[in-house]
């Protein structure tokens, strides 16, 4: 058998297919997804899409002709239910078989459901797909009170959108701070104040024990573990994403939270690769983790494509980056929240925009920027280059960040 079968047709799947052709792969490529759409972008779903600023057509990552011109066969609406190892083929839910030489799993992740009673009531919604976003947008039209479960990125973006639409919003977060370990306590606190200033009732250290039924079959609010109840006619659950790994489990692949892959996107079995939200890899700081971001999907999928073409010259070592838009604030992160020995504040948080720059041994390793996209871009470059920087110059907003570089590291990475 020859050819590549890619299971999961979204950010990572599309990128694997496109990169394979870009790197000269000439065998058959079949990209299979259970959704009815061509691969599309998810980030706008919790941002402009809910308010109608972005339409479904505008979400498509590529148009149909892109795939046909590159001889990439895209199958929509088929869910792969089994991988037949001996026949080396993937089996669709209606029995169609897709033979392969290489298999790439880009099955992504799905929302963690609310674990308590009431999760199945109408108007208890999660957000992953276009259909989910349409359901939320539709519900927004008819409701006054919204409860958001979870103070992660998606929960906060939806809370911001609902508040901007004039809804009464309560956000319930189980831990002591917003956005978990993805941001520093300082940035979490900055966003906490922003949300509260705009009228969102943020409850930290609070847990929902139950979603209460209002009119029969419909959610009417939530009950906190303290006994307090908060009425709401829409409950949005944003308590995290779970890697979709059932096919990997069936295959007996090495598993952590996600499908374990090495720096070449290879799983523990030959000719089976994985990339994106469903994969778990060892990051630059040596921690094994699942990264759920567009950057990781694109960069890891590109590595998977190279591996299939036999090019093992560039392991996955890209600097992670991420963004989140809340109200008119743009939060961006570059690098890894790892050990550092110095923090530089650049700019004034009260004046609208600032960056927090984290150094180890005089080199930038992590950067958080709020409404300073230019500083974020430069930080990404400085982190990839491993440049040594002068902290005093970094803090000085009259000096461009790139001019704070002292010397370029001899070990400068070749990425970007």
């Amino acid at each position: 058998m020859s050819g590549v079968v890619i299971v999961g047709a979204c950010q990572a799947g599309m990128q694997t297919a496109a990169s394979l052709r870009e790197h000269g792969y000439s065998e058959a490529i079949t990209l299979i997804g259970e959704e009815q759409h061509l691969p599309y972008q998810r980030p706008p779903l919790s941002k402009g899409f809910v308010t109608g600023r972005t339409t479904v057509d505008q979400l498509a990552l590529r148009v149909e002709s892109f795939y046909t011109e590159r001889d990439i066969e895209v199958i929509t609406g088929d869910r792969i239910v089994e991988i037949d190892r001996s026949a080396r083929s993937a089996v669709g839910h209606l029995g169609r078989r897709y033979p392969f030489e290489h298999l790439v799993l880009t099955t992504g992740s799905h929302p963690r459901p609310f674990p308590g009673p009431g999760a199945r009531l109408r108007n208890v919604l999660t957000l992953r797909s276009v259909e989910d976003a349409v359901a939320i947008a539709t519900s927004f039209n008819g409701v006054e009170d919204v409860v958001v479960l979870g103070g992660g990125f998606i929960g906060l973006e939806l809370a911001a959108t609902a508040a901007a639409l004039g809804k009464t919003v309560t956000l319930v977060e189980a831990t002591a701070g917003l956005m978990g370990r993805a941001v520093s306590p300082r940035v979490a606190d900055f966003f906490l104040r922003q949300h509260r200033a705009r009228g969102v009732d943020v409850r930290l250290n609070s847990s929902v024990s139950e979603i209460i039924e209002g009119t029969p079959g419909e959610a009417g609010g939530v009950l906190l573990t303290t006994g307090e109840s908060i009425p709401a006619s829409l409950i949005v659950v944003g308590i995290g994403a779970v890697p979709t790994t059932d096919l990997g489990v069936d295959l007996g692949l090495g598993m952590g939270l996600g499908i374990l892959v090495d720096e070449f996107a290879q799983t523990t079995q030959p000719n089976v690769l994985a990339a994106g939200d469903c994969a778990q890899h060892r990051d630059l700081a040596g921690h094994s983790r699942v990264l759920t971001s567009v950057q990781n999907a694109i960069d890891q999928a590109t590595v998977a494509a190279r591996t299939i073409t036999g090019d093992l010259s560039r392991p996955y070592d890209a600097v992670p980056w991420f963004w989140s838009d809340q109200y008119d604030l743009k939060l961006q992160m570059a690098g890894l929240a790892q050990d550092h020995d110095e923090v530089v504040l650049r700019g004034d948080p009260e004046a609208g925009g600032f960056s927090l720059l984290y150094l180890r041994d005089g080199r930038l390793v992590w950067a958080e920027s709020v409404s300073k996209p230019g500083e974020h871009v430069v930080a990404r470059r400085l982190i990839s280059a491993g440049s040594a920087v002068d902290p005093n110059l970094l803090a000085d907003t009259t000096v461009r960040m790139q001019d704070a570089v002292i010397e370029n590291s001899e070990m400068a990475s070749t990425v970007e």
């Binding site: 972008q41 990552l61 590159r70 950057q295 963004w323 409404s371 300073k372 996209p373 871009v377």
Partner: protein, 107 residues
């Protein structure tokens, strides 16, 4: 449908017809114009969708916003007076036929 003429660094030209309301970045991505990387998918967060806009029609697009202005100062290729981030350029009948030059590099 308004058309865009993409001019790649090697001089090759490609015409792409789009629905009004589509951004120049989306049009480029969807049709595989590789010189427009658009890492962030149009969130005005990355500066890898830099283009040079034909001067004749430059004024028909919405003006440069403050995030865009800041990002244009960090582009890989030189910022010129007709530099824009293509994710911030929305196509309409007003901008039909615009020539968009793709720079040598985005990173």
């Amino acid at each position: 449908m308004p058309s865009i003429f993409f001019v790649e660094p090697d001089g090759t030209e490609q015409q792409v017809d789009v629905e009004p309301g589509t951004s120049v970045m989306m049009a480029a991505q969807q049709h595989g114009i590789e010189g427009i990387v658009a890492d962030c998918g149009g969130a005005c967060s990355c500066a890898t969708c830099h283009v040079y806009v034909e001067e004749r029609l430059q004024g028909r697009f919405a003006p440069v916003g403050s995030f865009e202005d800041e990002l244009l100062d960090t582009t890989a290729c030189e910022r010129l007076p007709n530099s824009r981030l293509s994710c911030q350029l929305t196509m309409s009948d007003e901008t039909d036929g615009v020539r968009i030059e793709v720079p040598e590099s985005q990173m």
